[in-house]
Symmetry: D2
């Protein structure tokens, strides 16, 4: 039987000896390092690392590995995670009327491109809106927004997150602004796809803004959600070329392709523990 793979991510104040201490610890317990990436941020003095390793024996438990690593982590005052690589993350998807990202994520999940368990879909539109999409056994929650009382809906959203045990929330073109409170509670585990090449064209109707400005490239941006709208740490971006002859509607169409591939790429990176938050930026350990 092949030994399972574990992923260790860590960040701490940079100082000599971190890599050596981590490697020695893993070597001492007989682990074999399969992948290792690191980054020292010269501006913040913070150090980041991601390792994939096989433990010595096939049947070692993540809890035991964690208990063992705690000593190293404490020595350097690390933020860290250690996970069985194959253990699927519990993910909740949120969507509004436009379902191109949702349809895309569902397809990729189904064929095995996105190793995750989808524990629920929340929409502020009824099931009928997505009637052509097969949700399988995924629980669907229709939580419409009452403009006069957004708090009630957000409480329902939070209840679904809690009850489903969601570790990650993906705003797959969910066109409602989260309250500071909810954004705060989801810090570091809520991803949004913004339909512009941030920081250009923040706010509403970015493709119309782009058309008015006459840009020759349009883009999309995936970022962690923070209370500060459209200012969260950027994870991934991409663009397509447009021309004077493209209408705002053309840009919306072209943009759908950018949005869905940027969001899918981002989710794949996050699910494989490749994205670490570095203040209001991200460290992305690409494969």
């Amino acid at each position: 039987m092949e030994a399972a793979q574990f992923v260790l991510t860590l960040s701490c104040a940079d100082r000599p000896g971190i890599v050596g201490a981590v490697s020695s610890h893993l070597a001492a317990q007989g682990s074999n390092i399969l992948e290792a990436q690191q980054f020292g941020d010269a501006q913040t003095g913070q150090f980041f690392m991601r390792l994939v390793f096989h433990p010595c024996t096939a049947d070692v438990a993540a809890d035991d590995l964690r208990a063992g690593f705690k000593v190293v982590a404490q020595r350097f005052d690390m933020q860290w995670t250690l996970r069985l690589r194959d253990q699927r993350r519990r993910v909740l998807l949120m969507v509004s009327k436009f379902d191109h990202c949702l349809a895309d994520l569902l397809y990729r999940w189904r064929i095995g491109e996105l190793p995750m368990d989808i524990v629920g879909i929340i929409a502020n539109h009824p099931r009928e809106t997505y009637r052509h999409l097969d949700f399988d056994a995924i629980p669907f929650h229709y939580l419409p927004v009452d403009r006069a009382d957004k708090a009630t809906q957000e409480a329902q959203v939070w209840a679904v997150i809690e009850q489903s045990g969601a570790e990650l929330v993906v705003l797959a073109r969910y066109m409602q602004v989260l309250s500071d409170e909810l954004a705060g509670k989801l810090a570091g585990r809520c991803i949004n796809i913004h339909h512009s090449f941030l920081p250009g064209f923040k706010g509403a109707r970015p493709y119309h803004q782009a058309h008015r400005r006459g840009v020759k490239l349009i883009g999309a941006t995936a970022h962690f959600v923070t209370a500060d709208l459209d200012e969260g740490p950027i994870i991934e971006q991409d663009i397509e070329r447009v021309s004077h002859s493209n209408t705002p509607e053309d840009m919306i169409r072209i943009g759908r392709d950018i949005e869905r591939r940027v969001l899918a790429r981002t989710l794949r990176l996050v699910l494989d523990d490749r994205v670490l938050v570095d203040g209001h930026k991200t460290v992305v350990f690409a494969p």
Copy 2:
């Protein structure tokens, strides 16, 4: 002897019959249309067209063709130009300390990629700064800027433009802001390369801004110069991928490549009469 090619560009309020009238006029005089591109801007109601044609005989003069076209132009109240395609435009280059765009344009000009006559180079740094560049017989003008009296230098710049007969001015990383007056006098015939993906990161030190924001793509933008800084009509843009590990200095290096190719592409388009101004946007009839 092969007949010369002429380029006709025009814009006017859109209404039925423009293409027919232009084609009929050219057909009536025996011209053969080699290329034709058109665009009707649904938002502004403006129509744009670019045609390349062989006249009936090899020795017809541009002036005669212009005289003939005047009737059609007046009927539709057109803005228009009609030029012998092979007639090289007179171009003035302006540069500050960083000469990567200048070096690149000179190289392309030398091997025939940019069909133009360079009638002068203006720099606010002395000839010594560019000592490794061969300027051939191109007049070099060292016009340093006195911060307390920018007007004097701009008067000198204007004098060079006038005396050299420059039809086009290219700010090839010229890091001085033109006064509203000079920008106004150069409206529609002055191109700038901005080292950011506009409208993101306007103003100073855009790569440092990009680094601070943690974007995953950086870009450059070529645009017509207007009094409103960094707001001129965009002609061309391009980007490169960056990562968390790139320092601002890396971005400056990567950006040099983007800047020089965006500016060179733009200049090629402009020299072949492919760029028309449409309010604060551009129509680019790409090949």
Copy 3:
């Protein structure tokens, strides 16, 4: 009521006067030209044109317009088509086991990105293979291939094409080689997506070939099907970056994204009469 738009495409031996004759004809009958693109192939001496126009009156029939244009067409011995732009083409999709292109085309069709009527889906795998896809009322034909007798299945395929009135056949990762006879009958109206950057890696398992060769970019190619396998006129291509760390399976995954966007773009171009065959190449009048 807004007048309908018509699309005229034509090709013929290049000689002076074609554009003038076409424009004059349209002008004479009161049509207004909205888009016009042309190309003279200097190597083959062939001329190509695509025009979009509003006829003089809202209720003119395509047949009448065709009857009128016949005179011009005969004068220049043109190959030509004239169609009502909004009239949806009848399209048949063919697929094997991998359904990423099929799923993608269905989604785009459903939201209106691909203006066509899907008149049938032919698969050499049973309906169950695509159980998560909603085929709506589209007829599904399970036509498995008997390796010892491919002719029988092809006869069935041809019967479906005939009976459905399909104008266009799209091989959306249909992994069977068409016989020369069927390829011949579908000349100019059958599109295939090949999962390599042609002409590199023709034949079977191109991603494995690419991996073995150690290329740094992989691609996909959409082309018209001809009897000569993987040699048909190329319509569109695109690529993605890969690295030494990508396995053949990674490349297959990355390739799915390239394949589906290349095929979708191609189909959009073909449906809008933007692709003309020029010998063993294509002229693509991009928007």
Copy 4:
């Protein structure tokens, strides 16, 4: 004084304990690891690693570090290099008539983008061909090729390589095929830029081949030179979009831009010890 950086690269048969042994060795001597990248090739069973580290003290010599590492290297039967990162490599450039890559490399070298010492330029065209390029104090060798006796010229080339102490040879559009013998002597330290997207369009006049085939993207490929022409390990590739309207001459022009950026990127990677040969492929530890 800041401690110098050293770069260690290694490859060996993959087995547990390599990373641990290397890290422990560096930790034991007080070094701090700044960058670390690794790759295990599952198909060949070969392991590759690149590390950047600060040694404990500022004045340690590379020779001492090498002597210390020898024990680890022998234990795993490694191929390895250990270099002072700032020590400039000695590079020889070879060129034929087209000098766009040469001009580009010289510019980048001059402004500090390419940290290397250019120890010579070999051309089979006279100095006059490059009269607009400032070679500074770089020795220039005009070594024309006599088709009847290529061996004599190659002997001269080899003499220049030997006498200049060149560690790396860059064929910057040097349009002569090296003999198997010379290619063999330069194995692993000679880079070529091929003006096609390999493996497509091997051999002569690739842009003309691309034009004939009607591809929609053209490319360039940098690779290590081997006796097997156009089959050496690929280091880097890039592409640009072309259309039916591009002539072979257009492709040559567009290709120049691809060639020079691919070659410059490749050289930067090689100079920073980021490229390791893995059979007939490469491992590229990108920044």
